[in-house]
Symmetry: C2
Subunit: 330 residues, 2 copies
DNA sequence: ATGAAAGCGCTAACAC
DNA sequence: GTGTTAGCGCTTTCAT
């Protein structure tokens, strides 16, 4: 900056004033000279120094828990990143494992680097024991909830998602379901099951006729449970799957059994992974709005309005595709 | 820091000395007093200020091109992140789209923030027109190559991967293949095809008997091409798929046709997505070492040895699973 | 063994 | 209109 000043025969103050857009009090002539010098010297302001002086880093600390290695959930990062960029901010990212020690170290490092907000994102809606943070620092959890419940969090409305899935099938006229659920003790499973039960009630159907089979969210269990489900008499007309992976398992099982989708049985997935649209027939599924969750998080984090969030639930809409249709004979 | 000094009745110099581990010349007594004060005041050093003074930010700029939203390739980020963390560094991440303007802006912002290295990662092994960067800044491309060829890059050895796939099948005794390839004009496709042709030659097989069908890397094309492939007489005994997604399509097609894997036909995928291990039977596939690519990149970037990399090709090994076996009658 | 002072690159009162 | 100066929070010579 001193170099620029020398080159343009002005003080560094003038350079600073020109560069920070306070042209108001600077004559056009000097302004042009400074800009020319900046150009000639290929000068670029040091944002680290600016940050120190201004006391702001335009940086969001982002701690992930295996999220990057998980399919499609990187959309959380994409959403955060998009909003951050719009507001001249960047993401300082750390990949922390389950291990609480690592989490604490990561959070502390980010704080030491003066991030202006802290966002933590987990897979599978876990509970976390989040470390202590300075009182004035906005902190937000995505897809996770604090053990002590004092940190605002953004979660998908899994219960609504489960309900959307079955309501979609009810609307098509279906009356016999099996829910191929995921791991029984997972938070997301419990919520989705709750939504499913709500749906049954709305449809006036008895739980005993529309059972829940528990699996583990993996393809294999989707396969096995689909086989089991199709052995019931009368046959279910819709299989609601705990996630898209299990739906893939169901697809393969039904293909092998010679049962056609959606003519003989409708399938609903959950997650709306990229693969869902690619399957044939394309998979009707429930979308988890990861990208939007990231956007909302970044928006509030940067605005310093995290306290308005509380425990925010984001809507999980049904995405109707070709794997669901009216049941046979309707 | 001044507060700590006051609390411990020492100068800030002493505080700094104690905190930076230069205990050498500090008496145990003062050291203890300082540490106590640090504790009491809950003091944490400001790394932004440290960085300014030391002229180092311990930060790697990481520019991604849709990579985060792509399944499993987030492992590149995980690899980078792991090494960075080991070396007390962090990733400053920007999600840039194809748009070159955005890429340039991202790179400039990162440079202004004084990152100590720059890593760009793309999906699908694209060519990029990378912006100008300061001569002393380590820059590295992952899964991408510079239009002007002057930037070191780390790419998967797709040709070797294609060859590994077919060699694995040859070793099992197969002699009739169809290669269900991906988009014909993609760089990765060309390389994989080249490896496939090498393999045919090694096995002494004629290309005319072992054709290549081109698709688009999506499930649907895997399905269609598998159907077409199985109509050939004599039937192929192994289907080599351009990626795991196409292999899934093949699985579904074969299930519907009543063809058993691997008894009647062996399947090989490519990518080793998480889903590959979950399929039933589990999918033999070629692994792209994304995580390792990230690690190597971060290691060289931080060590300032990017020039040693040149155009590095990372090995893509076959991962044998249950979808391949000896052909019938062997 | 400890402290005073300079300076990293920048901004912003306050002079002139 | 433009320059002088102080200072953001830290490290590090050089004195003492």
């Amino acid at each position: 900056m001193a170099d620029v000043g020398r080159q343009a025969s002005v003080s560094i103050t003038t350079v600073s004033l020109v560069l920070s857009g306070q042209h108001s009090r600077i004559s056009e002539a000097t302004k042009a000279r400074v800009l020319k010098a900046v150009e000639d010297l290929n000068y670029r302001p040091n944002k680290a120094a600016q940050g120190l002086r201004l006391g702001q880093t335009r940086t969001i600390g982002f701690v992930t828990d295996e999220i990057l290695t998980q399919p499609f959930s990187g959309n959380i990062a994409a959403g955060l990143s998009a909003v951050a960029w719009e507001q001249q901010s960047l993401l300082l990212t750390v990949n922390a494992t389950m291990n609480t020690g690592r989490l604490r170290a990561a959070v502390e490092d980010l704080i030491d680097r003066q991030v202006e907000a802290l966002v933590f994102a987990a897979m599978g809606s876990r509970e976390v024991d989040f470390p202590e943070t300075p009182p004035n620092l906005p902190v937000l959890l995505i897809n996770a909830y604090d053990r002590r419940g004092r940190i605002p969090s953004i979660m998908p409305n899994e219960e609504e998602g489960g309900r959307s899935a079955i309501e979609h099938a009810l609307d098509l006229g279906h009356e016999r379901f099996v829910f191929l659920a995921g791991r029984e003790n997972a938070w997301a499973t419990k919520m989705r099951v709750r939504g499913y039960r709500d749906g049954l009630e709305i449809g006036g159907l008895r739980p005993v006729d529309n059972p829940i089979f528990y699996g583990d969210y993996r393809i294999g269990s989707g396969y096995d449970l689909a086989v089991r489900a199709m052995q019931r008499r009368p046959r279910p007309t819709t299989l609601l799957c705990g996630n898209d992976q299990m739906a893939i398992g169901a697809y393969i099982a039904l293909a092998r059994m010679g049962v056609r989708i959606p003519e003989q049985v409708s399938i609903v997935g959950y997650d709306d992974e990229p693969i869902a649209a690619d399957l044939s027939p394309s998979l009707t599924t429930v979308r988890i709005p990861f990208y939007e969750m990231g956007r909302v998080a970044a928006t509030h984090a940067l605005a310093g309005t995290v306290s308005e969030i509380g425990q925010m639930l984001m809507s999980c809409p049904i995405v109707p595709r070709a794997s669901t249709n009216r049941p046979l004979g309707q």
